[in-house]
Symmetry: C2
């Protein structure tokens, strides 16, 4: 009698936007390596705030990285989105079963999803029909405590691998910066309506010429209790499912009625 | 009797991602300058594919640009999104009445909206409660013919300025690369479901080390006749209203039922 075929381990692709040397990516590897075969392809330098940028004006480099022991790892000269694309085409030579991004040092809730390299990497995987999760801890510190984030990352990744969701599933997961026992559990939310009120810091260089640093205050306009911002304030781990169809369907109907020249010529 | 107060001209902010020297931005200025007071703040170099990247690791420079005659113009060392933020805070010192981006040399329909610096600039304005439109012509050539694009840009901008839409209105407008008389008019659409099948071009540098160029084939999986891809193939100017709420509301409901630990502790 032939042996029952051994079930293959899931392939888990891990990337981030803080760069391959950030403690957060090591925490993510540690959190999920018992769930499958982990491969790391991450930026060789910090890429925070890179959004969904891709590198088209110059070529990319990819080098083996050795700091994760037995885990196959590469550092890439490009953006987080580049890392996902290159990993699928040139490292794995197939789609992984899941793509994880993070754990980011700092929040990516609400409108941050748009600016975040962490979440853009996850969204890129989702575009490529790879289920994905981006994780962010609300603590910018290099010495941040990832214990709670690791616990919930493991729970969530195991759940997604075992459950038959859409292949375009993409989750934006944020973890409050509190001790693990204080976390109240996972909470599925919507993206809060919030934005940054920009105020550039104008300075003079040694030659007397102006330069500007981006700064800004975070403004949450959303009083809903079903948002990620509310959940995080109340010590829940927020889970926002994210999509890459940006069509505003409500406005689409309104526009179609009002817009000029919207007549089909036969 | 006091004179009737002269109605103030609308303030029109123009940016792009091909850089301030691209013919497309000049075409956009020419198309709309009769509709208001135009101010230009655009990248000092090409920023295609920069997505919603912001510059946080180093400061920005802003210099006066002189090539548009009487039009107030600045070139910025940052990304298209940086340009919008800096324009509002340090150039206009107020929100413009509308923000226009483009005219891009090349298509930004379907999934391109995610990668596009042109559309990310428009979306950034929308986040900041400034109605916005990104324009893209389906012709990469530096010598592209913008006549049709200019005609519809003028029609659309005038309509949006005169109509009371949502302050977060953001339109992704693409124009087929055909002679102006062949254009059939504006068509309000949804974003087609399409993606790029990546295939990196692997080469060796003079030292024998590998490097990779991003290339890929565009794949449209969407057979709908209400999509931007369909409209463009049929010589319509496609108009897709775009939003910055990325929440996948459908998946949110499904997840909330299935996910573990999704119990609120009292």
């Amino acid at each position: 009698m032939p042996k029952a075929k051994k079930k293959e381990q899931p392939i888990i692709l891990i990337t981030n936007d803080d760069g391959i040397t950030a403690p957060g990516i090591r925490a993510l590897i540690e959190a999920v390596q018992h769930l499958g075969k982990v491969t790391v392809v991450a930026p060789d330098k910090p890429q925070s705030g890179m959004g969904h940028a891709v590198t088209i004006g110059h070529p990319l480099r990819l080098h083996v990285a050795h700091q994760f022991g037995d885990i196959e790892a590469y550092q890439c000269s490009g953006t987080p989105v580049d890392c996902v694309k290159l990993a699928v085409d040139k490292v794995l030579h197939r789609k992984p079963d899941i793509c994880l991004s993070g754990i980011n040092h700092g929040a990516n809730h609400s409108i941050n999803v748009i600016y975040s390299g962490t979440m853009s990497a996850a969204l890129e995987a989702s575009i490529e029909s790879i289920p994905s999760i981006g994780f962010s801890l609300l603590d910018h510190s290099i010495e941040a405590d990832f214990a709670g984030a690791k616990k919930y990352a493991a729970i969530l990744v195991e759940h997604i691998l075992q459950t038959n969701y859409d292949k375009h599933l993409c989750l934006n997961v944020n973890i409050p910066a509190v001790d693990e026992p204080l976390l109240k559990g996972l909470k599925v939310c919507r993206q809060a309506y919030a934005k940054y009120e920009e105020e550039f810091d104008e300075r003079l260089d040694p030659s007397g010429k102006k330069y500007y640093w981006l700064t800004g205050a975070f403004l949450n306009f959303d009083k809903g209790k079903d948002t990620d911002v509310w959940a995080l304030k109340n010590n829940y781990v927020s889970v926002v499912p994210v999509q890459f169809d940006l069509t505003n369907h409500e406005l689409k109907e309104k526009l179609a009625q009002k817009i000029p020249s919207n007549v089909e010529k036969k």
